[in-house]
C-alpha cells in the first residue's frame, strides 16, 4: 500500500496540471488581499452601513478578517479544483491506456483503488494547507492580527484575537473533510468514464444541483436537506459562532453548536465512506476494456 501510495503521489506531482489549482488559489488569494489592502476600508464601511450605533475600536481590517473573507469567497469554488484531480484518478488512466497495465500487475484491485483515493486526499489536504498558508499566515503578516468581526445577517460577532487562531485550524480541518467528500464523489464518478472531463463535469453538476436544493426552502427539498452533503459543507462557519455570556461578552473557547458541527462532519464522513466503498465494490468486478 505504501509503495503504491508513493507511486500515485509521484504521478500526481509530476503532472503539470496538478499545479494549476495551486496557482489558481494563489492568484485569487493575492488578488483579494491586494484589493482589501488598497480599498478594504470602503468595503468595511459598506458592511457597517446597515448596523446603527456601532462604534469600532481598533483595527477591524486585520489578517483574521481578511482570511475569513477569503474563505467565504473561495471555499465554494475549491471543489472544482479538487474535482480536477479526483475525476482524473481512474478515468485519466483509462484514457491514457495505462489502466490495463496497472491491473495486469500483481496488485490487489482494492489496494490500488484505495491508494489512489488516499493520494487524491493528500492532494486535497495539501491544497488546503497552501490555502491556509496564503490566506491566514500571509494575511496576518500583511494586515496584522486583531479581533475578528464576523457579519451574520444583521448581527456582528466579535471574537477576541486570542480566541481566533484555533478556530481557523478547526475550520480548515472541517474544510478538509468537506473537500475530501468532493474528492470522493469525483473519484467515484471517475470509475464510469474513459476521459476525465465527464467525471469532473458530473461532480461539479452534482455539487451545484445539491447546493441549489440546499438553498431552496421548498417542503420537498427540506426533507432531503439533512442528507445532502452540500448542506454540511459550510459547517466550518460554526467554529466562528461564539457563545455570549449573560452580560453580552464573548465566552472564550466556546462554540454555539458543537454537536451540529460534529453531526455535519459525521454525515460528510459517511458520504466519503459510501463513495469510496461503492467505488471499491464496483472496481473489483469491473471489466477493463479501455
Amino acid at each position: 500500500m505504501w509503495t503504491l501510495l508513493q507511486i500515485e503521489l509521484f504521478k500526481i506531482f509530476k503532472r503539470p496540471r496538478t499545479y494549476i489549482a495551486f496557482v489558481a488559489i494563489a492568484a485569487i488569494v493575492v488578488l483579494i488581499q491586494l484589493a482589501l489592502y488598497l480599498d478594504g476600508k470602503t468595503y468595511v464601511n459598506f458592511m457597517l452601513q446597515s448596523i446603527e450605533r456601532f462604534n469600532v475600536e481598533g483595527k477591524m481590517l486585520n489578517g483574521y478578517f481578511v482570511c475569513y473573507f477569503i474563505l467565504q469567497t473561495l471555499l465554494i469554488h475549491v471543489p472544482l479544483l479538487i474535482a480536477l484531480v479526483g475525476g482524473d484518478m481512474i478515468a485519466g488512466e483509462a484514457n491514457m491506456g495505462t489502466l490495463r497495465l496497472l491491473i495486469s500487475k500483481p496488485i490487489n484491485r482494492s489496494t490500488l483503488l484505495i491508494s489512489k483515493f488516499l493520494a487524491s486526499t493528500i492532494y486535497t489536504l495539501l491544497l488546503l494547507v497552501w490555502m491556509a498558508f496564503l490566506s491566514l499566515l500571509i494575511s496576518l503578516i500583511v494586515f496584522g492580527p486583531g479581533d475578528l468581526m464576523v457579519f451574520q445577517s444583521q448581527v456582528i460577532i466579535q471574537i477576541p484575537r486570542s480566541d481566533v487562531f484555533w478556530r481557523y485550524l478547526a475550520a480548515f480541518g472541517f474544510a478538509a473533510i468537506a473537500m475530501t467528500t468532493v474528492a470522493a464523489l469525483s473519484f467515484f464518478l471517475s470509475l464510469f468514464a474513459e476521459n476525465s472531463i465527464g467525471p469532473i463535469v458530473a461532480a461539479m453538476s452534482i455539487v451545484i444541483v445539491c447546493t441549489i436544493l440546499t438553498t431552496m426552502d421548498l417542503p420537498l427539498f427540506l426533507s432531503m436537506k439533512p442528507y445532502l452533503f452540500t448542506s454540511h459543507m459550510l459547517g466550518w462557519k460554526g467554529f466562528f459562532d461564539i457563545k455570549a455570556s449573560a452580560d453580552g461578552s464573548a465566552e472564550l473557547g466556546s462554540i454555539q453548536n458543537l454537536p451540529g458541527i460534529l453531526k455535519s462532519a459525521l454525515i460528510l464522513g459517511l458520504h466519503i465512506v459510501g463513495f469510496v466503498g461503492a467505488a471499491v465494490i464496483i472496481f473489483r468486478r469491473k471489466d477493463i476494456l479501455s
Binding site: T3, L4, I7, M96, T98, R100, L101, P106, I107, D287
Partner: protein, 311 residues
C-alpha cells in the same frame, strides 16, 4: 513438457455478442505460441482474461498449474505483458516509467537492472526523455522493457508489431527469438500479421469470431502435403469436368467463377501443370500457396462462407 497456460472452455459474452466462444488451448514451457486471428476475432479478449483485466463468462484458466483467479497475485508476478499498444505515462521519462512499473511488479529492482533493461531494448540514449517525445517503435520497446523488468517466466505480447516500420518489426521479432532461445522465456504472441508469427512461433492457435479453428505446430500447419493450388482458367467448367474424371479428383476443393482450388503435395504441382496443358486447359494462372497466411485466410474465409450459407 509442463503446461504454463491451460485454458479450458473459455467464453466471454457481452450482452448478445460472444467475443470468445468456448476455446481451449495449452501453452507449454519454452513455447513461442502464436495466437492468430483477424481483427475482432477475440484475441485481445482472451489475453485480457489471461491477465485478469476481464472476467470470463465461463471456463477456467490455469497458469503455472494454478487457478488464475484463486492465485491472481502469485501468478501475475511471473507474467510480463504488453497489451495492444504500449500506453505509458507521457509526462514521465522512459526511465521513470520503467522504474514505476518495476516497483509495481513486486520485486526490488536495482538502478543497474533498470539501466541494463533499457540498454537491452536500445533506449539508453533516450532514457531520460519524456515518453511524449518517443516514436511508436520506442514506446513499443519501452513497453517490452516494462514487461521484462521483473524477469517473468511468461511473456504475453498482444499485437507487438502494430504500427511499427519494417525495421521495428524485425527488431521485435529478433528480441522475441532472443528471449526464447537465450533466456528460456515462454512467449504467447498474438498478431494478425501471420507472416511474422510464421517466422517465430513453434506452435499456434487460430481463432475466428471467438471460436477456435485450429491449434497445432507450425510444421503441421504449413505441411507441404497440404499445399493449396489456386488455378485460374478461361474454361473452368471444362477443366472441372476433366479434373473430376482424372486422378486429381480427390484434390479438387472448390470452384469460384474462373478460379479452381485444389489441395495436394507441393511436389505434384509440375505434374498437374503438364496434365492440364495436355487436357486443353487455358491456364491464366497457377499459384501454389503453402504459407501459413494462405492457410489462415482460407480457413477464416471458408468459415465465413459456411456461416453465410447456414444462417
Amino acid at each position: 513438457m509442463a503446461a504454463i497456460i491451460k485454458v479450458d472452455n473459455l467464453s466471454k459474452q457481452y450482452h448478445e455478442v460472444k467475443a470468445v466462444n468456448d476455446i481451449s488451448f495449452t501453452v507449454n514451457t519454452g513455447d513461442i505460441y502464436g495466437f492468430l486471428g483477424q481483427n475482432g476475432a477475440g484475441k485481445s479478449t482472451t489475453i485480457r482474461m489471461l491477465l485478469t483485466l476481464i472476467s470470463p463468462t465461463a471456463g477456467t484458466i490455469e497458469l503455472f498449474g494454478k487457478n488464475l483467479h484463486a492465485n491472481r497475485k502469485e501468478v501475475l508476478q511471473q507474467i510480463g505483458a504488453v497489451i495492444e499498444k504500449p500506453d505509458l505515462y507521457k509526462y514521465l521519462t522512459g526511465y521513470e516509467n520503467l522504474s514505476l512499473f518495476a516497483r509495481m511488479s513486486g520485486v526490488k529492482v536495482t538502478q543497474k537492472k533498470l539501466t541494463d533493461q533499457l540498454e537491452q531494448v536500445g533506449l539508453t540514449e533516450r532514457a531520460h526523455s519524456k515518453v511524449r517525445t518517443f516514436s511508436q517503435g520506442m514506446k513499443q520497446r519501452l513497453g517490452i522493457a516494462i514487461a521484462l523488468i521483473h524477469d517473468p517466466k511468461l511473456i504475453i505480447l498482444d499485437e507487438p508489431t502494430n504500427g511499427l516500420d519494417p525495421q521495428g518489426i524485425a527488431d521485435i521479432r529478433n528480441l522475441i527469438l532472443h528471449l526464447s532461445r537465450h533466456q528460456g522465456k515462454t512467449i504467447l504472441v498474438s498478431s494478425h500479421l501471420l507472416h511474422e508469427i510464421e517466422l517465430i512461433a513453434n506452435r499456434m492457435l487460430i481463432i475466428d469470431k471467438g471460436k477456435k479453428i485450429m491449434e497445432g505446430t507450425v510444421a503441421e500447419l504449413v505441411d507441404p502435403a497440404r499445399t493449396r493450388v489456386h488455378l485460374e482458367v478461361t474454361n473452368p467448367q471444362q477443366v472441372v469436368t476433366w479434373l473430376q474424371s482424372s486422378r486429381w479428383s480427390t484434390c479438387l476443393q472448390e470452384q469460384n467463377n474462373t478460379v479452381i482450388l485444389l489441395q495436394m503435395n507441393k511436389q505434384q504441382v509440375p505434374e498437374l501443370t503438364a496434365d492440364l496443358v495436355k487436357a486443353g486447359a487455358n491456364i491464366m494462372a497457377l499459384q501454389p500457396q503453402n504459407s501459413l497466411e494462405s492457410y489462415f485466410l482460407s480457413l477464416t474465409t471458408e468459415n465465413r462462407h459456411v456461416d453465410t450459407f447456414t444462417n
